[in-house]
């Protein structure tokens, strides 16, 4: 029997997949990205402090999207991906 696949979709032009190289978590610049929920920045700052036990933290920085209810703008993601090798993201609540 032949059915129409209910989950089929054509890939949108902007969903280009980019290969990523391995990250050196001891030295590479890292962005701590907040979803702008309450206490997300405090949580990420705690992660940054703990990372200070085994690496320099002067190239670990914070960023946040404008609203917890909106996706981050593509331009913002593009900009951060040029500057940083890895991101730690606060999701949910």
């Amino acid at each position: 029997m032949r059915i129409v696949n209910p989950s089929f979709g054509q890939e949108a032009p902007s969903t280009e997949k980019v290969g990523a190289n391995a990250v050196d978590w001891k030295t590479d610049p890292i962005i701590l990205f907040s979803n702008s929920k309450p206490n997300a920045i405090e949580l990420l700052e705690g992660v940054r402090e703990r990372m200070g036990a085994y690496r320099a933290t002067d190239n670990i920085n914070h960023a946040h999207k404008d609203s917890p209810a909106q996706p981050a703008p593509e331009a913002m993601i593009d900009e951060l991906s040029k500057e940083y090798r890895a991101a730690l993201i606060a999701i949910a609540d």
Partner: protein, 346 residues
């Protein structure tokens, strides 16, 4: 079980109904209820109802793929729709893809919102969409399956898998289906879609990510101001997303409450202003931490009170339901809009 190939048409072994449901559930294509098989011939009958509709469909978040008409129709078939419902499903899909609806945010949020669909105009009668007694409840194929079809589209095409991309903490029963129509015939005011600039003869669907309806019981009040006192008290909730968001809220007046309000001379604008003023939440009912959070979000207080919406006009009022002294409050996701789309193929 192997995941299905990523092709539009799947050639499966012949399956009976039980085997088909096992297969579909294993593919995570369902909501837990049995699904109708989306065979090619059934799907073609649905697509034929939208013949000539060439308006492109944008990519659907959060998966960011562009749906095709047959694939959307396959989900409507699975939901149990009749073919003639498909233009309504398509318009509802377009409504939730309106940028102001904020589909990505509403599907990925921890909030319990689901897409509320509300129909106006001739389509309500054409498709037998229930607008009267028990309009939020069970018993009408159009309400149940149009709402369900949109949910399956968002699940299967949009990729809003519960616990994966759909991060709702608690979910809600509205995530199965939430679809009704305005009871225009028993409303003493202009229909909702006419107040939004559509013609009375247009068939229109309005969508907003919402919590399920909260009942407002008022058997005692015999005046409009009494009923509004009860409504204002019911919608004045510190736990509602709209206290810090930008979204409108819906007040669905039962016809008996509506008649009393109209008898006492209340216009839609008067009711909006009264509810805006009297539902605002005094600062003493809001935790200190939330006060700080709202201050950081530049949320404006008026006379030591947080309004439930940004403006009185964001309190959207309509009439639905049957006999009885009940109305309802439909709280929104925090950052969204009520998005209305005219049906083009009915």
């Amino acid at each position: 079980m192997e995941p299905a190939p990523e092709t539009e048409i799947l050639d499966l072994d012949n399956l009976d109904q039980a085997e088909w449901n096992e297969y579909a559930m294993a593919q995570a294509w369902g909501d837990g209820f049995p699904l109708v098989m989306p065979t090619e011939d059934l799907v073609e009958r649905f697509v034929a109802t939208c013949h000539g509709d060439n308006e492109p469909i944008p990519a659907m978040s959060p998966r960011r793929v562009i749906p095709t008409l047959p694939v959307m129709a396959a989900n409507a078939v699975m939901a149990g729709c009749r073919p003639e419902y498909f233009p309504a499903v398509l318009a509802a899909t377009r409504a939730v893809l309106t940028p102001d609806y904020n589909l990505h945010g509403s599907l990925a949020t921890t909030h319990s919102c689901a897409p509320m669909l509300m129909f106006n105009g001739p389509v309500r009668k054409d498709l037998n969409i229930n607008c009267a007694s028990n309009c939020f409840g069970q018993g009408h194929q159009a309400n149940a399956t149009i709402g369900r079809a949109l949910q399956l589209i968002l699940l299967n095409i949009g990729g809003a898998k519960p616990g994966v991309m759909d991060r709702s903490t608690l979910g809600s029963p509205a995530k199965y289906a939430f679809c009704f129509g305005e009871n225009e015939e028993e409303s003493p005011w202009e229909p909702f879609h006419v107040r939004r600039g559509f013609a009375a003869g247009d068939s229109v669907v309005t969508a907003m990510p919402s919590e399920p309806p909260h009942n407002i019981n008022d058997h005692g009040s015999t005046t409009g101001v009494g009923i509004l006192t009860t409504i204002a008290g019911t919608i004045s909730q510190p736990g509602a997303n709209s206290i810090y968001g930008s979204a409108p809220i819906f007040i669905v007046l039962g016809p008996e409450h509506a008649q009393t309000l109209h008898r006492d001379g209340w216009t839609i604008a008067d009711m909006q202003q009264d509810l805006f003023d009297r539902s605002a939440i005094h600062i003493s009912r809001v935790s200190v931490e939330n006060q700080e959070s709202y201050a950081n979000m530049d949320r404006v207080m008026l006379n030591d009170r947080y309004p439930m919406t940004a403006t009185p006009e964001d309190i959207l009022i309509l009439v639905a339901g049957g006999p009885g002294k009940h109305s309802a409050y439909i709280p929104p996701f925090g950052f969204t809009s009520a998005c209305s789309v005219r049906l083009s193929h009915v």
